[in-house]
Structures are given as C-alpha cells and as structure tokens.
C-alpha cells in the first residue's frame, strides 16, 4: 500500500504552470527525476510508490513503461515551454524507484536519450540510477555508462543477513562487492545506501555493515534511519509483537557510530543523512531537493518543483499511462507556495545541509533563536559567528527541533 499523496489544488490538464513559476527560471538549476515503480518483491518496510509485476496489468506493464515515461518527458517539455519557463540543459538526472534496474538497461538509456534530445545535458551533468545489487550485470552497467549514466546508487541496506531478512531484502551480502566492482569497471561512480535501526539490529551489526560498506570505498554513502511507516507490513509485524519495536535512542547511538566511522574513513557529511568522499562526490540531484531548485519528476506518484509550484502525479501506473495516452497532464494535484511557505521550506530544507543556512536570510524571530541554539550545543558556534547556522553533531540528530526553533511563529 503506497503512501498517500498530499492534498492540494487541482492541476490543469494542459500542465501549464502559474506565471510565478517561470520568474527567474534561467538562473536556477534544472533536474529530472524518473520514477520506476517496479520491484521484484515488495519489502516489508517500504511505503514508496512501487509495484511487483503481479500487481499490474493492462497498459502499465514493465514492457511498455519506457515509452510511457518518454511521452511524459515530451509533455513536460511542451508544458514548460507553454508556461514560459526558460529551456535549460539538465544539470542532474536521477532514476529512482522502485528498482530502476528491473527494466532493461536499454529502456533506461532510451528514456535518458529522450531527455537529452528535449533539453540537452550540461557538460559534467550528474546522471544516477538506483540499483539493486541483484539486478545488475557487468554488461548492463556498461550499457548504462555508454548511454551517459555517471553514477549508480546501490541499495545495500545492511551487510548482516538477519537484518536483511527483516527488511525482506533478497540480495546476499556477497553480491554487493561484485556489483560495486563491475560499476567501477564500467566507469561509474558508486554510492551505497544503508539503513540503520532495523528491528533486531544490534550495534555490532550496524558497525559490521558500516565496515563492509567502507571497505568498498564508495564515493558517496547515505545512511537512513528506518522509519516504520503506518500501513507497511513491518508496522503490522511490530504491532503483533513478531519483531521488536525500534527506539530513538538506538537510532541516535547508530547515527553517532556512523558519523564516527565515516569520518575516520575520510568521508564528510553534507546533509543529515548523506556523506561524500569529496565535494565533487556529493549527490547534486539530492542537493537540488534541499536547495529548492527546479526539477521535473516523471512517473506515477512523482513529485515536481518549479519556481515555488509543487505538483505530484497520479499514483497508479495504469491511471498514469491513461492520462498520458489522452495527452493530458498526469498531475493529481499541486500547490503554489506563498512567500511564507517558501520561507518555511527554505529554512526547513537548507538547515539540513552542512553548508548551513545564512543567518542573514532568517527573519528576526529566527535570528533571535540562534544564540539559544549555540547555548544548547545544537549548532556550531564558529560557523554562527561567520553568519551561518550549521548543525553540530548533536544538532543533526535534533534537526527538526532546530528547525522549529528557527521558525517560532
């Protein structure tokens, strides 16, 4: 049961954006997100918009998914053009899911080619796909690199079998080093995704996963605390007492352990849950979300943002395909942020980044909160003196509380 979409205003079927969205667009980065809503199995913790093959029929099958997305990209180019948004080459492209690599590499390559044809890729553009270590081969990775992909992000999650079992992950840990090696050989940068705080995961288990991941010398690493989402199979299993509940203190211990191990391995954080070996290794697509850049999200349930207007597509792949077939926007709803909401989002998102939030951009109430945050050890004093709110180690774990204090009204 994929998570619910937000409620918003209705979105017009021609996809034309309000005039506010176009303003200043030539100065903003532009990205593309492509959602691939397929998985071989549904993991018990996942609440993303994804489907196993058996769940779908009709015109939304995996086989004709790529053409459907290509149709959305063509629609997108037209809609942006009609909205007066300056056409720009793409800075980043990100294929996420689901499991994008469940589709043949050729399909992913064709979608990327369409995007390149419509907008072009900026020199040095970052093009990433998520991948399951099980669903790649040396050949498939080479094909992706040849098509223009620069980066692959593997869903490693853990190196410990009993943890992977609770997460319903099917890959065996030994598969990960192989996949990483093949990606390297294909010339792709490598990111690993880890999950901590899985029910039953001991601190040593987490430490082992970190060590295993770091031994592969990834360029980038994401470590996400497992969030038990309502309505997932894992939430039900916890409710029934079949697996133990997780607690925030355990999460905090594991986060601190991760920071320690990653720092020792020469990686540094640039966002609360993300670390990179060098500044160039930071995921620019990820940063675009936090920095409020423009991106078009293609695929069912995908979210987009252009100049203060956010919208989201219908969730079900069948409904999504039908909309596009009829030449209509697949958007289910949208919202146009007023100045207040834009400020709130700006603080909310950018405070999570290591580069921090400029105190000069805070309103007076926010600036008043800064001294208290220093006193409580939640932000770094030196950075504050330089005019930047940057979370301390402790503050990263309490980032939501910091944001609430910066937005007191």
């Amino acid at each position: 049961m994929p998570s619910a979409l937000p409620l918003g205003d209705p979105a017009p079927s021609d996809g034309v954006l309000p005039s506010s969205a176009a303003a200043g667009s030539s100065n903003r980065d532009f990205g593309l997100y492509v959602h691939i809503p397929f998985c071989a199995v549904r993991c018990g913790y996942c609440d993303f918009n994804t489907y196993t093959a058996a769940e779908l029929g009709g015109g939304a099958s995996q086989a004709n998914y790529a053409p459907t997305v290509q149709r959305e990209l063509e629609f997108a180019a037209g809609a942006l053009d009609r909205s007066g948004v300056t056409g720009r080459p793409l800075d980043t492209v990100f294929f996420g899911g689901g499991t994008p690599t469940l589709l043949p590499s050729g399909d992913l390559a064709r979608v990327l080619t369409t995007a390149r044809t419509l907008w072009g890729l900026r020199p040095g553009a970052e093009v990433t796909t998520e991948a399951n270590p099980d669903s790649v081969t040396p050949a498939s990775l080479e094909e992706l690199a040849a098509a223009g992909f620069t980066r692959v992000s593997f869903g490693m999650q853990s190196a410990v079998p009993h943890v992977l079992a609770v997460l319903d992950r099917t890959h065996s840990p030994e598969r990960v080093p192989l996949a990483v090696q093949w990606a390297r050989e294909a010339g792709l940068k490598v990111s690993l995704d880890l999950i901590y705080g899985t029910p039953g995961e001991k601190l040593q288990d987490w430490s082992a996963s970190l060590d295993a991941a770091l031994s592969l010398e990834p360029d980038h690493l994401s470590a996400y605390a497992l969030i038990i989402e309502e309505g997932t199979a894992l939430a039900r299993r916890i409710r029934r007492g079949q697996v133990p509940a997780v607690d925030d203190d355990d999460h905090a211990d594991k986060y601190e352990l991760a920071e320690c191990a990653l720092q020792a391995a020469g990686m540094s954080w640039y966002e609360v849950s993300n670390w990179a070996r060098t500044d160039e290794d930071r995921c620019r697509h990820n940063l675009a979300y936090w920095k409020g850049h423009d991106w078009w999200g293609a695929g069912p349930g995908a979210h987009s943002h252009v100049g203060g207007t956010r919208w989201w597509n219908v969730k079900h792949p069948t409904a999504y395909a039908q909309r596009l077939e009829a030449g209509e926007s697949p958007a289910a709803g949208r919202e146009t942020l007023d100045d207040g909401a834009r400020y709130v989002e700006d603080v909310l998102l950018r405070t999570r980044l290591a580069e921090g939030y400029p105190t000069a951009d805070l309103n007076p109430a926010g600036r008043n909160a800064v001294a208290g945050l220093i006193a409580d050890g939640l932000i770094e004093p030196r950075e504050a003196f330089r005019g930047v709110v940057r979370l301390s180690n402790r503050g990263r774990l309490l980032a939501d509380a910091v944001v609430r204090r910066l937005l007191p009204d």
């Binding site: 937000p6 918003g8 709130v344 774990l397």
Partner: protein, 617 residues
C-alpha cells in the same frame, strides 16, 4: 379520588387557610423531578403535550446529571372535599454543597415530602436535609417512590422511615412518579396534613427570598415567600440586609410559566422582578419589605454564602482569558455563592482563583464555563482555606499553596467538617479504614435498620475535597452516601510541598499537605510528571521539596533524536505539513522555564488517580 380544581384560587387574594407550602426532600436519582412533573400534570398546570421530562430542571447540565441545582416554586391548584386549594411546591437543590439554599427553601414551607427510593432506602444527604426540615418544624410526609420497580422493598424501607421520623410504617405513602400511582393520594394528603401558613396581613411586608435567578431577558428573578403583609406591583421595596430599594416592575406566581398577579399576600409564594442585574442585589435569605412602611426586624436565618473550596481556573489557550473573565462575570450574576479574583500562575499564566461551596459546585461551574462559553480550562487541585499564624502573630489566610508564607510559622489551622456516611453494615470496616487514613476521628455509629449504619466522623475538609467521595463510592460498590457540614477548625502539622522542574518551581503542582503525607505526595507527583512530560532537548530533573529539603526526585533524560531521515522522493509538501503539525503540537505546550509541558500533563497530574482510572475504563 380528588378532581383537578375547577376554579383555582386567585393570587394576591388567597386566604392563607387554603394555601399549602411544601417542598420535596430527596436524594439525587430518587425521582423527585419525575414526581414533580407528575404533579404538574395531574393538577393541570402543564398540558400533557407540553410535558418535557423533568420540567422543572431548566439547565441542560441539571437535566443530564439528573440533579436540581436551582430551586423554583410552582403554584398548583388542587381540590379536596369541594374546596379549591393553592399548593406551592418549592423545588430544593438536592446536594450537600447547597445546604444553605436548601435551608432557605425549607424555611419557606410548612411541610416537606420525604421522598425515598423504595429500592435504595434513605441516603446521607437526604438525612441531612430531613434534619434541617425537622429543625424548621416542618410537617413531614414520608413517601416511598418507584414502587413499580421490581427491586422495590417497600416494607423494609417503610420500616426504616417510620423508625427515623416516628410513626407507623403503614403511614408511609407508596407512589410511582413514573406511572402516577399514589400521586393523587399524595396531593390529598398535602392538603389534609400540612398546616396552613400563618402571618399578619396588616403588618409591614416581610417576604423571605429563597432563590434568586438571573434571566438574560428579565434580569434577576427573585423567588419569595410572603410571611407578613402584602407586596404590590409598582411599589418600591427594600432589601433589609443592604437597605437597597427597587421598584417592583412585576410580581406574580409560576404555574409553571411566570404569570403576573396583583400582588402576593400572607403565605403566598411567587416571584419578583425589579430590573436588577446581579443576584447579589437580591440575596437568598434576605427579607423584602415595603419601602414606604418598612418592617422593624428582618426574618431570621440570613447568612452570606461562604466558599469552602478554592481552585485556580486557567484557560488552556491564554488568549481565552478575557472570555473566561466575561463568563465568570455572567455566571456570578446567577450564583451568589461564586467568588473569584484574578490570579497569575507562573506555569499556567493568567487565570482566576475561584471559591466554591464544594466540589460539586466546582465541577458544575467548570462544566458550565466549558459548555456555555466554549472554553477549555485547566483547574488546579482544589484547596481549602488555611489560617496561618506567623511567629510575629500576624495571620495569613491561604487559599492557594503559592501564597503559603515562607517565614517562621507559629501555627496552621485547617477547616474541619463533620461527615455522616450511610452504608450497608458490611462496609463499616472499609469506611473506617478510609476515614482514618484521612485523619478522621470517629464521632459515633448507629444502626438505621438491621443492615444499614450511619457512621459519623470529624475530618479535615482538605482530606475530603479531592477524591474522598470517589474513593468512598468505589470501596463500597457505590452503596455509601456522604453528607458533610463545616465544623470549626483545628491546628494541624501542615507543610507545603513544592514541585520543581529543572530547579524551577511550578506553582500549579504545589500542595499543602499533612507532614506525614508530604513524602507520598512528592513521590506520586514527581513520578506522574516523569511519565507525562515528554523528553526535552536537555535533561530535566523533577524534584519535590519542603522548603529547601528535597524529598523526592525523578529525572527525564534528554531526547537524542528528533529528525526525519528521508526526504520522501522530493515530497517536500509532506515534510512541510509534518513541520506544521509538530508546531501545532507545540502550541498546546505550556512553557515552565525552558521545559515544554503538554496541557494534558497538567490535566492528568492535577486529576486524581481514581478519576484517571475511570477515564481509562
């Protein structure tokens, strides 16, 4: 069988000989309002189709709780042996908090119906009111109600009543307010057994106020019983306690809707409207006389209502303070017993310290404020009034723990009550245990019947205002009933226990307790708060202290994680909504120093465990 009166006697020209003034003494739930309704119907003053169940209970809260807070008087015509009589039924409050109002209602009557549930027997409050009625020399008509119930035991309880008031069990009338059985016979008996009022028609008027009600459209409606003389429309009257004079804009009787008359004469019961807006200008127990020809002495028995229990009332939302102030002002118009003054709590903000006659009065007032004025309130733990004498002989009256003097204290006196508890004899042991635990001293014990006892205790009022009645009920499976009245004061070894969060005293949680119970209070309150207050960004010690001495301690560990890892695939809208929700939750927090305390924590910490258990069930 008596017929409905064909011609009702005319007010203002009614011979006292054909007037009968009576009230009904009954316990909550024993069916007084249903019986009264049946009388209204049988005497024809309320048509069948207009009949609302329990016509006389006007306020919603009264109807829901099945209790009568405010009394009213209704004039009923009834014919016996060819003579038309005017029966004035004076409805009395049934709860111990309103003893003074009951006593004034009784003073307006010559007789009382003692109404007892035939399935439950007499209760302590009824006994107390019966005692008041007998002190006022009222003629008592014993009646067992609800004889239609399968569980009714009329023989047993008739014997109990006969035993109590003298007379024979056969003299006890058996009625059912629900089916109407025996109600006509009761009306006949009121006429035949109760004495007619006696007074001096030519003397200056003396009328006793037994109730005073604020009406939005008419101002204060004052209910009186004329003892001597005559009151006429448009004349100027005088309130003897304050010497204030008013013009009688309207005078009349209720039957049961207000009906203006040419006045009221000796023995009559009716209402006055003078245009005053505040019930304090028309006080229960006061004597009304003619301004032109004033009486030389007022009727006896007047007393100013004295609040016994004090509690701080605070709006959950500080912005509602003006609403609360206006609401209290309005309630005061209709409740002469309500006193209040502004109060500031460091923890709860701006509110009022309100004095009540008792715990029920507090609950009803709070419920009315919340319902009629749409307020959400926090009420602090109820307090009694302590008299604290300092070593320099100065005396301080303390109704709020935060006013408790910090200096050298020579002596503290606390108010006492004498309590009467009626219960089946199997519960004597548990009741004694409870009362002893509350520092009670037993005054005596009597058997009312072979299996029901009356137990008398002298207890500190402070020990019964909080949860005593709930405890009593739960320990006796609901069978025990309680009545109490003020009974002087005593010197006691009392201390103030302060509760501190992060070293900061939280006035709302302070309590004045007996020294022997201070430790238990400290442990209980710190433990409760540890459960109720969420973890903060820093460690929060919770301490209980007497003066500088810490007697209990708990600790809330600092929260370590408050961040969501994911960005939900670019679903920023969801993240922003989450933030808004979190901030909304924060608005429901009160700041104590730097500690965020949820409103619920105040409510839960200030409610007794017993009532929390009830809420859970």
């Amino acid at each position: 069988m008596s017929p409905m009166a064909r011609t009702a006697p005319v007010p203002a020209a009614t011979d006292p000989a054909i007037i009968r003034n009576f009230c009904i003494i009954a316990h909550i739930d024993h069916g007084k309002s249903t019986l009264a309704d049946r009388m209204l119907q049988l005497t024809g003053v309320v048509e069948q189709r207009d009949m609302k169940a329990q016509y006389l209970d006007r306020m919603d809260i009264e109807r829901e709780r099945g209790i009568t807070i405010k009394s009213q008087a209704v004039r009923l015509p009834w014919e016996l042996d060819g003579v038309s009589y005017a029966l004035n039924m004076i409805d009395t409050p049934g709860h111990v908090d309103f003893t003074y109002e009951v006593s004034r209602s009784l003073a307006a009557c010559e007789g009382a119906i003692l109404l007892v549930d035939a399935a439950q027997g007499i209760e302590a409050q009824t006994l107390a009111n019966l005692y008041l009625a007998m002190e006022n020399d009222l003629t008592i008509i014993p009646v067992l109600n609800k004889i239609d119930l399968p569980a009714a035991q009329p023989e047993k309880y008739a014997a109990e009543l006969a035993n109590l008031i003298g007379g024979k069990p056969e003299d006890v009338l058996l009625v059912s307010g629900k089916t109407g059985v025996g109600v006509e016979a009761l009306l006949d008996k009121i006429v035949s057994d109760l004495p007619a009022p006696v007074g001096d028609a030519s003397a200056p008027a003396r009328a006793m106020i037994f109730d005073s009600v604020y009406d939005t459209y008419r101002g204060v409606v004052t209910y009186v019983r004329v003892v001597d003389g005559h009151l006429s429309p448009r004349e100027r009257i005088q309130m003897m306690s304050t010497r204030a004079s008013h013009e009688l804009l309207e005078i009349g009787v209720s039957s049961p809707e207000p009906t203006p008359s040419k006045g009221l004469g000796v023995g009559e019961v009716g209402y006055l409207i003078t245009g005053v807006k505040d019930v304090r200008q028309s006080k229960v127990g006061d004597t009304v006389t003619n301004l032109a020809k004033p009486a030389s002495s007022s009727l006896s028995g007047y007393a100013d209502p004295k609040p016994m229990v004090f509690s701080g009332l605070y709006p959950l939302d500080g912005a509602d303070y003006p609403v609360l102030r206006d609401a209290l002002e309005k309630l005061m118009l209709n409740d002469a017993a309500l006193v209040y003054e502004p109060e500031t709590s460091a923890a709860l903000g701006f509110g009022f310290r309100v004095g009540f006659l008792g715990l029920l009065h507090l609950e009803i007032t709070r419920e009315r404020l919340e319902r009629e004025y749409n307020l959400s309130l926090i009420s602090t733990a109820p307090n009694v009034e302590y008299e604290v004498t300092l070593e320099d002989k100065s005396v301080v009256h303390v109704t709020n723990p935060s006013e408790y003097p910090a200096g050298k204290i020579a002596e503290v006196r606390e108010p006492m009550v004498s309590a009467t508890i009626l219960a089946p004899n199997e519960f004597v042991g548990t009741i004694m245990e409870l009362c002893q635990g509350r520092r009670g001293v037993m005054g005596g014990m009597d058997y009312l019947s072979e299996d029901r006892v009356e137990i008398r205790y002298r207890l500190p009022l402070a020990e019964i205002v909080f949860d005593f009645f709930d405890m009593l009920k739960s320990r006796t499976r609901g069978y025990a009933s309680l009545d109490w009245k003020a009974d002087g004061d005593q010197v006691a070894d009392l201390v103030k226990v302060d509760i501190m969060l992060q070293g900061e005293q939280v006035d709302a949680f302070s309590a004045i307790t007996h020294r022997d119970k201070a430790y238990a209070y400290g442990v209980m309150m710190t433990g409760k708060l540890r459960e109720l207050i969420p973890r903060q960004q820093f460690e929060v010690p919770i301490q209980a202290a007497i003066g500088a001495r810490i007697i209990a301690r708990e600790n809330i560990r600092a929260i370590r994680k408050d961040v969501l890892a994911k960005c939900y695939g670019g679903d920023i809208t969801r993240k922003r909504k989450l933030l808004e929700k979190q901030k909304e939750g924060k608005k429901r927090m009160k700041m104590v120093g730097r500690v965020e305390v949820p409103q619920e924590a105040f409510i839960a910490a200030l409610s007794s465990d017993e009532s929390k258990d009830k809420a859970r069930k």
